[in-house]
Structure formats: structure tokens, C-alpha cells
Amino acid sequence: MAIAPIQRVLIIGAGIAGMQAALDIANAGYEVVLVEREPSIGGRMAQLSETFPTLDCAQCILTPRTVEVGHHEHIRLRTYSEVEAVEGQLGDFRVRIRRRAAYVNWEVCTGCGLCQEKCPKKVISDFERGIGPRKAIYTLSPQAVPNKPVIDRQSCIYFERGKCRACEKFCPTGAIDFEQEDAIIEERVGAIIVATGYDLYPLSLLGEYGYGEVPDVIDSLAFERLLSASGPTAGQVRRPSDGAEPKEVVFIQCAGSRDPELHKPYCSKICCMYTAKHAMLYKHKVHDGQAYVFYIDIRSAGKRYEEFVQRAMEEERVLYVRGKVSRVFRENGKVMVWGTDTLSGQNVEVAADLVVLAPAMVPKAGSDVVAELLDLATDEHGWFTAAEANLQPVETKRAGVFLAGAAVGPMDIPETVAQASGAAAQVLSLFAQWAERNGNA
């Protein structure tokens, strides 16, 4: 190499995977550029209520991490930003990052929240999975890191009709800047970690389950928001249609997973456990409620996982029914679920108040773009492919580019964290070798 390799890493995605890798590398004294598409970091985990199998509050264990990342002297946080171009190779990648216009000057903004309070435009929040509102100027959550809002240009009244500017009027520091434009930032790094995470399979593709048609059919992340103390119902389980407390709740696993013919052939790995958790937490909140879980195989393979599911059955009286649900529809104010119990050989029907679907996990929207930018291989479903599945699970075929977390495929939090640290180890090894070489040179 002609010039000294750069001991700085780019991490794409600031969910729990990206943050873990960032902290491991930054704590070893190297610089990290952490790019996140959303306005704040934390990823999917920030949406969760409690975590299995300990039922720790997700926010409580996540917040110290996000704060640490936000304050770390070696981590350069680039939120609301996307990687646009990557050139170069191992030791010297040149990266172009586009920071989207937030229409808020973050240098001046104190994050006081007044703008969000005063903004007259309410829209459905993606973060709340469609069951809660946000304003046109918003942060993802009160604990957002960084705690700075962005204006969503599509829903802002001013951008639409040329007047309003309520936020600007009330902002005590004059941080609103409607003229702000996207900024281009150039970074040079020696290695790259891809930690782009996952999305949920669009349930509109599963017509038989009534999602989108029946308001009381929601997805699992929406149920997380329902359970979350910081969610739209402040942790009360209420069904979307009429705000009533649901007494019979059906959880349907494998909604789009293990379905090679129509949807995704693979198992999404995490649903069995979070569904057991959902049923359990539901019972904690609605003591006289009845929870049903329709499954094909219960996949509780992990430390204290099996015991956790057994607890859901024994202590929380959750009824597990082995069989895939065939149809969900609305009738007489109830959500009818047609399923089967392959163990007794009986077809069953539940008149439910709420149905929670566990959709297949799919690669994060836009990860195909990242794959192209970095010239990385993906499998037929769009998941990033490791150099060798067994012995090189975090390496890619491209030197200096590594993988972390659910960008590779469905993965739960502990596995994600361990694997993200694994990616960090790869980078640290490289940097240490370069340090030796640079030192000798």
C-alpha cells in the first residue's frame, strides 16, 4: 500500500448491531463514522417494549448504549444520512455521505420539544407502526439520540401550502431553517461494517390474514408499541378499532415465513420467542384475557428460551395451537380466526378481539443499494452473504468490508450483539496490524 492505511471505520446502520460494533472499536481508541438513515440511533430495539427471556425493559438497557454512542469522543454520528458512494479499497475507502435536510439547525437546536408541541400537523407515525401519531416536525422518541427533530417535508403544511411556520415562530433558539439543503460529507475510512438490519414483510401481501382491512389485525412491532410504556397507549393493551381492552388475543406465527411457495421460504428465527413474550406480557396486563398462539414448530433454542416458552404455557396459561392459520376476517365486531390443531386433528375457530401477526423478516429497504455501492453479494432474498457461512460468518468476499447483525439474516439481540462484536474484532485486528506496520515504517 502506497500510503498508510486509515485506522477509521465506517459503520452503516446504528441499530444495536452498528452501535455495538462502534463501541467496541471506539473503546479500543479508533475512530468510527456511524451513519444512520433515521434521525436518531437505536434501530429496531428502540421500538421494543421488553426483551426475552428476562423481560428487561428494552428502553432501559438500550438508552445507556445510545447515550454512550452519542457522547463517545471517537464516534462521529451521522444521522438522517445515507451513504451515497464508496470508492477505494481496504485501508483507504472514500465515502460520500448525504445528510438529508432536517430543516432544523441542529447546532442551535436544544431539543426542547416546543416545536413538536406547537406543530399543528399530525401524521401517522412509522415508528409507532401506524397505531400512533407524530407531528410533521418530530423526533422518534423522547429519548432520541441525538435529541434533535427533523421536518418531514411531505407532511409539513408550510412545504405544502407555503404558510404555517408555527415551529419557527415558537422556536426559542431560531433553529428552524426552511432553506436548509442536503449536505454532502466526505469521509475516508480503512474498513466498513454493514449493519443495515431488517424490515418486516409487507403483510398486505398476505390477503388471507386481513391486515390493512381489519383494524384489529396488527403486526408484532405494533404490538410492541402497544405494550411499550412510551408507546401511543402508554403501555395499555387497547385494540385500534375502538380502544377496548381485548380479552381474546390470537398470535399468528410464520406470517409469510416458511412459505416457499407464496412468500419467504426461510424461518424468521425470532418470532417464536417474541410471540411467547407478547402473550406473556399481554397476560401480565390483562389478567383475565386469553391468549392463543398458532405455530408450526416452537423454536425456542437459546439460553433459557425453552424454559421461557414453557412458562408462557404453564404460568400464563397461553394456549399453543399447532397449525397455520388459514384465514382471518371480520364478523360481528370480532376478528374471526380459522385455524387448525394438527395435534388433535380438529379444525378450530377463535372469535378474537385482536390478532397479532408475526411477519417474516426481510432485509432493510435500501440494503440492495448498499450492496451495490459496496459490491457485496446478497442471497436471493436480499440478505448479505458472508464469505463462508461456517468459519467466516462476519466477513465478506470484499476485503475490509464486514457484516453485523440482521443484515445477514434474521437474528435475535444477543446473537446480533455477539456477531457485531465479531465484526469489530475483524476491524480491530486489521487496525492493530496497521498500527504495527505504520509504527515500523
Binding site: Q20, D24, N27, A28, Y30, T51, T54, D56, I61, R65, V67, H71, T110, G111, C112, G113, P172, T173, P260, P265, Y266, C267, K269, D297, R299, S300, A301, G302, K303, E306, E307, Q310, T342, L343, D379, W383, A389, N390, L391, Q392, P393, V394, V408, G409, P414, E415, V417, A418, Q419, S421, G422, A424, A425, Q426, L428, S429, F431, A432, Q433, A435
Partner: protein
Amino acid sequence: MRKIGIFVCHCGLNIAGTIDVQRVVEEIKKYPGVAFAADYKYMCSDPGQALIRQAIADYGLDGIVVAACSPAMHEVTFRKAARAAGVNPYLTEIANIREQISWVHQTQPEEATRKAIETIATIVEKVRYDEALVPFSLPVVKRALVIGGGIAGMTTALHIADAGYPVVLVEREAQLGGKMRQLSGLYLNFDAAPDLLETKIAAVMQHPNIQVLTNAEVVELGGYVGNFTVKISSRFQVPGYKLQVPGSEIAQSGINPQPETLQPETLQPETPQPETFTFDIGAIVVATGFDLLPKSELGEYGGGRPPDVIDGLQFERMLAEGEIRRPSDGAVPKEVVWVQCAGSRDPELHMPYCSKICCMYVAKQAMAYKQRVPDGQAYVFYIDIRSQGKGYEEFVQRAMTEYDVLYLRGKVARVFEEDGRVVVYGVDTLSGKAVEVQADLVVLATAVVPSAGARDLAQRLRVSTDEYGFFSEAHPKLRPVESLTAGIFLAGAAQFPKDIPETVAQASGAAAKVLGLFAQREMVQEPTIAFVDEELCAGCGLCVAACPYEARVMHPWKPIAVVQTALCQGCGACVVACPNKASSLRNLSTEQLLTMMEPVL
């Protein structure tokens, strides 16, 4: 008297929405010792921090209380800000009026405001008696010890060694490779395990930074993170395996392995004698792997007696040797039954947990069997098929559709020998039929258990295990590769059953933790830990027993207890245990606690 400044944060409406912040400021201003009080929308923001720095300068403050969110959020932030203005960070404290007050008392603003004032007052009392402290710094020995030479241990060792640090790799067996040595091929591609493994072993053996000790075990551990002293006993070294790394490497680092008992030249290869080596070590990775539950534990499956009832690893050996022949008479088995959950998911009689790897290796074995014996019939009895991993589900579906493996949902009740066959009493809960297979060979997917001796090792290392002997991680979600003991990390199946990809990823993760530790010039230790008042200590030793971190020891000759500062976590167990009030926490003394209580009583 200390001049204390109070800074009350609104946190937008998070605090100010419930608590009357102005009133808090006015009331607390009147409290003895308070020289300044102010509020601000977001104290953690740059203007907020500037406010603090300015007030320190203007009013000569030497104690700071920030009334805001949990200290877990911003203690570091405010201590940094105070330090920049010349106030010792340990004289800066947080009064948590958000999580503990405004959020939980949203409907009672009046009471919340009163509680906020009282809470701040308690912290004022604390700051009044806080000492200005300086963090300890400790040197780090940049050599790692990896215990276990399986795929996990080797992966970790290579990462650390590649980064330029010396590694001592200890393996109990005569050869490296661990359980992977016994495997034939790997799922999903039937890659030959021995080839992949040999490459790894060669890389380890040839690595100038790795010292391999086979036939060796850790016998004693002293010290603490960054500065462990480890004694390793090696029964004998197999020729061809390295005993020493190049001398220069060791000499440079200034720490030689010190054979304590025998000089190597006195060793006779025929009569191996134990040697003991002592190493200074900065970080330890435990990668001791797993064993299988002995078949003798499973009486209903023959209790280990029928020769044609074997376990998963025995079948791997058959596959590796190329020919599938049953042990009893060497015949090629035409009907083979795999029994999953043999001892797993059985809280009543065996192991309550799922062993995680069996579903996949059984599918692989059944397919490999069919590749070798195309006219054979393979049956798999299962409770739930757990093929959760990239490409795993598809793999199992291939076993069913391409290899015609018959999956039967039900736990096998009995396996016995009769008329030269192995009879399997099973069930198919899906058709509702009890079934029987006259098999030629039965493979039990026996439960995965911790490696023999794991518990003893854990005791020697002073790390905790779960009730089965798997090493406990520091946090199940966010700290999966760390043990609860600082400086000791976990890799692979020593923590819980794991397949190879997960093991490798996690072993790399453990390496990252070691590299992070070694990257620091020295370790910084919080000074808010316990100390012993020598005048008051009677040397009763109760605190030694009470300390969960092994941070308390008796003085070598004086009748007093001493604190091993590097190990102390400041939990306060010793304070409670001490009958003489000789144990105390820095900046949380008993006197301090008592005065802190006064404002709320």
C-alpha cells in the same frame, strides 16, 4: 463550607410538565450551602452546559448538583462539564427527578414538586460531604489466555494474535480441534470439517504470537483484570506441538513462562510428568465447549448397552470414516432412526433446555446417510423442528423432499434390542398413531451439556455458571460474550449450545473485547469503591466472605482486611457485613447516608 450550585433541567416537558421547576429553584436556593440555583430547558445541551461552566466561574462553586434524568444518562456529561470549569468530577452529582419523580407522578404535580425539592436536598447533603477523588489507573498486561483449543478458542486466539498480541492457548486434550475434530462435514454444504479444521490448526500452530499448551489445564488463577497470574499444568507435550514461542517474543514482553517444578530436559517422553507454567495475563477467554449427555443416563433408550444405539458424535465418526456400518456386526444399516431431544427439553428427568444444534445436525446426518446408502430409509423423531438460521429451514425441507427422510412428530418412548434389530417405540402425533420401527441403527441426539470439568474451572476462575454448568454471560441481551468477572470473556458452547457459525461469530466477539482492553494504555478504575478503616477493622473476615467480587482479602500478616481496588465494584456488601463499621464506600459513607436522609424525614 462548600459552595454548591443547583441546576434544574426541564427536559422539555418531561420534567417541567409535572414539576414546578421555578418553585424548585426558589425553594432550593434557601437551602443551607446552596450558593446558586438555576433552571434550563435542556441542561445537557451545549447552552445548558455553558450555563454550568459560567456559574462555576462566577460564583466560585465547588460542588454541583444537576437535577435531571437518571445518572445512567448524563452523569458523565455533567461531570465532564464541571471538570472543564475546574470542579472535581466526583463533587458533581445527579438528582434524578425525571425517571423517579416526574415520570411516575404525572398526576400529582404538587407532591412531585415537593419530592423533587427534597430529593435535591438529599443530594446537596451528599455533595457537602463528598471527597474530591481521582480515578485509579492500572497497567494492562497485553497477553491473553484462551482456555480451550476447539474452533471457538482457536478463532479467538487467531484474532488476538493477528492484532499483534501474544496468546497462550491451553488445551486439555493432546490435540487442538475440540469437538469439530470429530465431525465429518458441516451443514449446509457438507464441507469437509477436517479440511477446514486443519487449515485453522495450522494457522494457530504457525502463528508467532500463539503459544499452544496441549494436555494442559489451568490450575490456579490470581489477580484481576489486566493483571491476572495464571498457573497452567501441562501433563506432557506431544511431539510436533509447540512448547515455546520464539524466545525473543517472550523476552521482549519481559515476562517469561516460569517452569516451577521441572526443567524440560529432565522430562522423559515415555514417562510424562506434569510441568507447571506461570503466566502474567491481561485477559482470559473461556472456550471450553461441550460434551454430550452420556447414553447411560437414558435408560428408556437402552442405557448405553445396545451397540447399535449410538449418539450423534459416534455417527459423525462413521460419516468421517466414509462407511456407514453398524457397530454390532458391521452390516450396512438400511433403516436408521434418529431420536431427537434425547435428554433435552426434559425438565422432569434430564435437561430442561433445548440443545439447539441437534435439529440441524440430525437433518445433515440423515441426508449424509442417504447419500451413502441411497436405498436406506431414514426416520427422524422430533418435537419441534428448530431450523432457525440462514438457509436452515430450506436445508431441512431438502432432507424431507430430496432425501425422503421421514419426519415423525413425537418423542420416542423406548428403544430396545430384539432379534438383532433395534426396536423403536415412537408416535406420530400428527396422524395420531403410535408407531414402531424395526431399525438397524438408532442415533440418539443426546443433550448438549457443559464440558466435563467446566464447573471446577469456573470455580478456579471465580466466574459464575448457571445451574447446569454453562458459563454465565454478563447480560443475556447486551453483554453475551462477557462473564460477570471483569477481564474474563466467553466464547462458544461453554456459554450455551451453539452451532459452528454462531460459535465463530461469538468467539470473534470475545476477541473484540480483549482487543478493546489491550488497546488501552492503562485501565481506569472508578474511585467510588470500598475502603477499610484500619483503626476500626478487627480482622474478623466477614467482609471477605460477603464480597461477591473476591475484592476483599485478609492482609498477609496484619489482622485486617484489605480491598483489592481493581476488583471492587463498590456494591457495599462489605459495609453491611462489617460489625465494626470499618468498611465504607468512598462518597457514600454511612455518615453521608444519614445526613442525606435528614431532608426527607
